[in-house]
């Protein structure tokens, strides 16, 4: 009964859908913290070339090598005497870029496939879903390894590899979402008006499937960052001495006995980034799904 009365009172306050989501998101401390972290990271990653002397990131100074964290070198220095703090800060560029481009790749491939499968059903759906099954039968990290082997290791190929290996996820999510809206009356109406399938999919169906896709996108950026650094760690993808976080960890692994701070900080950086994305993703999910409001 309380929910009934609540919905009555809610009718009186009208907000746009976006405003409603923002209203709920704002109240979620975790999501706002995550968002704050991400905004700072983006600001740094986008502008770093303008204010940071690259010498600080790549400049070697053997006399200063392997120093423990101190007031001059906050995160210590590596085996070449490079300052770990600036290397980790600079590394945010790689990780954020990889996370985003990778997820864009999986979105661009996965969403249309999922939408087509869900909308048309029948043989088309069967074919797409079976291929998806086959792709997801191979663990995604192995898929990444194979794709990097095929394409050769470079930053862009790493993005592609990580992106392609999470395509099945987006196909499934999109298909499931499309299935729930495809029989709605407004879709029937559009069909009755003789609109083309393409128009209906893009104008009527996908906009109503956005919530799960947006949530999944945020969470997938997080896991893409982890996958990419895992691949780098396995020696595929970005190689040391590039200051990508996974590569920093690979380089630090050699010195892990005695100089464990070399591994500590890049890992923390990955964790905080991923944590921020996860918090925003969780917050978005709670804000967008009225069923989950609690």
């Amino acid at each position: 009964m309380s929910t009934e009365t609540m919905s009555v009172s809610r009718k009186y306050r009208k907000r746009s859908k976006l405003g409603e989501i923002w209203h709920h998101l704002k109240k979620n401390k975790g999501a706002m913290t995550g968002l704050g972290i991400l905004i700072v990271m983006f600001a740094v990653a986008l502008t770093i070339d303008f204010w940071l002397d690259m010498e600080k990131v790549i400049g070697q100074n053997i006399s200063q090598k392997l120093q423990a964290p101190n007031s001059l070198h906050w995160f210590g220095t590596d085996e070449m005497g490079r300052d770990m703090f600036w290397r980790v800060v600079y590394g945010s560029r790689y990780s954020l870029a990889i996370g985003f481009v990778a997820v864009m790749v999986s979105l661009a491939v996965g969403v249309p496939l999922g939408a087509v499968a869900g909308y048309y059903g029948g043989k088309v759906e069967g074919l797409i879903m079976r291929i998806t099954d086959i792709f997801s039968a191979i663990p995604s990290i192995l898929m990444g390894v194979v794709i990097v082997s095929i394409l050769g290791s470079s930053t862009f190929n790493l993005m592609l590899a990580v992106g392609i290996s999470s395509v099945p996820n987006f196909v499934r999510i999109t298909r499931a979402a499309v299935l729930t809206v495809k029989n709605e009356e407004y879709v029937e109406a559009a069909r009755a008006l003789g609109k083309t399938d393409l128009y209906i999919i893009f104008r009527h169906i996908l906009p109503n499937c956005l919530s799960p896709i947006i949530v999944q996108t945020t969470l997938r950026v997080a896991s893409a960052i982890v996958s990419a650094s895992s691949l780098s760690f396995l020696g595929l993808g970005i190689k040391p001495p590039s200051p990508e976080w996974g590569a920093l960890l690979t380089a630090g692994k050699t010195y892990i006995r005695g100089y464990s701070y070399l591994c500590l900080f890049p890992g923390l950086a990955i964790m905080i980034t991923v944590l921020a994305f996860n918090m925003v993703g969780d917050g978005l999910r709670d804000a967008m799904d009225p069923k989950l409001k609690r």
């Binding site: 009964m1 309380s2 009934e4 009365t5 609540m6 009555v8 009172s9 009186y12």
Partner: protein, 342 residues
Amino acid sequence: MSEVRENEKTVDDSLVLDIQDLTVHYELEDETVEAVNHISLQLKKKRILGLVGETGAGKTSTALAILNLLPNPPGVIKSGSIRVCGNDMLKLSQKELESIRGSSISMIFQDPMTSLNPVYSVGEQIAESIELHEDCTKAEAWEKAEEMLQLVGIPKERIHEYPHQFSGGMKQRVVIAIALACNPKLLLADEPTTALDVTIQAQVLDMMCDLKTKFDMAMIFITHDLGIVAQICDEVAVMYAGRIIEQGTLREVFNHTKHPYTEGLFNSLPDIENREAELQPIQGMMPDPTKLPEGCAFAPRCPYAKPECINTPQKERSFSETHKVLCSAYDDPTFRIRREEC
């Protein structure tokens, strides 16, 4: 449990239920829903009380408060006392409450589709209640569960079946069997027939009346269907915006209606004798339960309302020992509502 009852022997023995000044609020993050406001209600043995009102009037909250089962948070009982067979439901320990629920008092919920646990067989769900409250073995409990099933008109062979194998009406019968399994003194029936087809409604209703006589229990029948009230109830209480605005015997409330809202309810019923007559719905909407006025919450919709109605707190007025009305209009001794004039 029997000792608890003895300690409270001072209370009138014939009262199964005695609610005094009950107030229930739902305290949400940024607002408070005043669901039930200062209601008092008594019910004697073997009587049926119809609790009438529109959706959101506070009927279900009242029933849940009687069981002390309000979802908390956000539900809070702000004031009042509730006695069931002499036990003060708001002061008992959790354990004592558990022993009373299901044995002295039980409840039937509105939606039979969701009120049965889908992963346990109906037999198990009936027998569980018996095992909890009666000193018996598992086998005896199941035996009694079989009896209960037959009593509500379900062949006992179906005892091992699961809720999804039953239709809506059958499920409600199972819910009734669970509620009656331990011969409660008081049954709270929260719109038990609303979710059912009309033909099934009549069957279930007939069965409930039969069982009520058989088990000698009192019943609160929550509904918004005045037809059902006329059919089965001895007493009626009409709720609006969390208050009981009129209560009395069936005859008093139906034949000597005093409150303008009750009158409005009758006017919005179709007239069997005069099918041409237009329905007269009550204009407007229920007030926002988070912002109830000081005075009469019905005033904005009331055809008799005076400007002061909305600000002056109403006084309860008795027209007989049982007939009580909450309306300031009767401050004017000549006031009559239209229904009474003709």
